[in-house]
Symmetry: C2
Subunit: 337 residues, 2 copies
């Protein structure tokens, strides 16, 4: 029978549609393999083409070359030169489009998917995220920093060279504000961080755990809005991604790489997005929020029901998705079980 599940963190309901349910392996993407080249003459992110991007913000050197670099997005959604001034004309509220929009070029190798990178390289990328996150959070005009990756041709990515993005905005988004208010309410009612509570419960139950390491836990959401929606939580309570230590970053590199490799192998290289959900700069250190990564393969599309209700229909039972991913064998990475 179908079931409704409520996301404890957001209070959103999802429909686990058992009548339409699919086995996890049925979600694997069937598509033609594209030819893979490690250098493309036309790609502005390939080594040797550095002059085709705006001037570098940050680079991770590697001998004569580089391991990774951060450049401003040439087609930025927001502009650092736009003052964040508000205009209020009756119901019409607007603001200058101030913001930063970085591209993080993850590797000089045009063909190297993050799922196939050495763990240490993923850790390097996470370190770069943190540096830029921390730098931008110091700007008093910045209210929120969103770090994300779009992977795949069909997935909002216009360039195939491995990259991720960061957008700093002068406002806190409604979604983030709401999630904070829910977390704060829970803390006020029960006296504990609801994320710490979920991590504890999931570790006890084990059913939805995909993998664990010394510092992180990857788990399929109980009320997953889409197949294989995975959260990677730090075990230690930290409100902000800023709080992550060097040791934890190295560990997360292994966990994230392993998680992505499981999706790559198990679901045959699906498109995916990931994002880091973290406390805005003004809320660093709060006891009620807990940063984490959210990884969502793009296997289904949303349509009118999701638009009209904000509820999602998920055709894969999260417990089965977790079991499936646990069983996908990835070349052993030290310290990940």
């Amino acid at each position: 029978m179908p079931e409704l599940r409520q996301n404890f963190m957001t209070k959103e309901w999802v429909v686990i549609a058992t009548e339409r349910a699919k086995r996890p392996d049925q979600m694997a993407v069937k598509r033609e393999a594209k030819p893979v080249v490690s250098f493309s003459e036309k790609c502005p992110f390939c080594q040797g083409h550095e002059s085709q991007t705006p001037p570098e913000i940050l680079g991770l050197p590697d001998g004569e070359g580089w391991k990774a670099r951060v450049v401003p997005n040439k087609f930025a959604a927001l502009s650092p030169d736009c003052p964040p001034e508000r205009t209020i004309r009756r119901s019409r509220r607007s603001m200058g489009g101030f913001g930063e929009h970085d591209v993080i070029v993850e590797t000089p190798d045009h063909s190297l998917a993050m799922a196939m990178m050495p763990d240490s390289q993923v850790a390097d990328i996470l370190r770069i995220y943190k540096i830029r996150h921390d730098q931008l959070s110091l700007d008093p005009r910045v209210a929120q920093v969103t770090i994300f990756k779009n992977y795949g041709t069909d997935d909002g990515t216009s360039l195939e060279h491995p990259h991720s993005q960061l957008i700093a905005t002068p406002v806190i988004s409604y979604q983030v504000r709401q999630r904070f208010q829910e977390a704060m309410q829970q803390f006020d009612d029960f006296g504990c961080c609801m994320f710490c509570q979920i991590i504890e419960e999931e570790l006890e139950g084990q059913k939805r755990i995909v993998l664990t390491s010394e510092h992180f836990v990857a788990v399929e959401l109980f009320a997953s809005p889409a197949p294989f929606c995975t959260h990677v939580y730090p075990r230690r309570h930290m409100a902000s991604f800023s709080d992550v230590s060097a040791k934890e970053t190295a560990d997360l590199g292994r966990v994230l790489r392993t998680m992505l490799a499981k999706l790559y192998i198990g679901l045959q290289n699906p498109d995916f997005n990931f994002t880091i959900r973290t406390a805005p700069a003004e809320c660093v250190g709060v006891r009620y929020f807990h940063w984490y990564m959210s990884v969502i393969p793009r296997l289904t599309r949303t349509a009118g029901f999701e638009l009209g209700s904000g509820m999602f229909i998920n055709t894969v039972i999260p417990d089965e998705a977790a079991e499936f991913l646990r069983n996908v064998k990835v070349e052993a990475a030290v310290g990940v079980s």
Copy 2:
């Protein structure tokens, strides 16, 4: 320069990305025309194939045949046989998947897009929506009725025969609850329905108006999350779709058909979704909410930034979208200007 705009109804911010901005006509879909047949041997919704659907809930007769019919969805997301009982196990909240999932077959003609229908046929479909909405709202187990249409191959639609859907759920979704709370807050602060206020302001400014009729106003959202996101508001204050009169329904048939024809012609038959946003049964008659239709062509895809922040990036300026749609000529429909 880019601009941030805040949706007055939801408090959500969107980025109007002028650096990436496109002229409205650049959003037109370039795709190959599919062969159109008015009868398909394989389609369970075509006339003569009535036995291939579950038993009819409601039919609109037309001589020996039918104009439109409502049947249960064969692959329903929720089930009327599932008791809506809650289970709370620490952070895990779930509920039996009770619900109704109707398919509204809009015409016996396999190829007749709603944009091409006679106005009266669209009005008939709206009447059917209202009958089923009202019937299901009487069921004490039903908390919310979501009416929606998915149009297009790439858009969550598995069957091409013209149809729409209705899902009744035993919970009020978080999104609807939040929108209600915002509307209530506005009413408490300013003493008026914020939708009535927006309608008045948009009619004064005229810039974002697409079309108006005796009873309805179609307008591009000031803070539109996506290109051509259009709201169709009744001029008269009504919290619920249940309150719409027969005369208003006939008028809405003309307005909706004209609106869809403008999208069809102007953007070359794009995929779209529409939904009716209405007060849940428990809130009928409230002074702070105002039902409306939301029509969104699917011209862009969301990705990691939207996932991570809940904010959208829109590359078409809503004022220009409105002007573009105003200028798309549709065969005159009486009473629509």
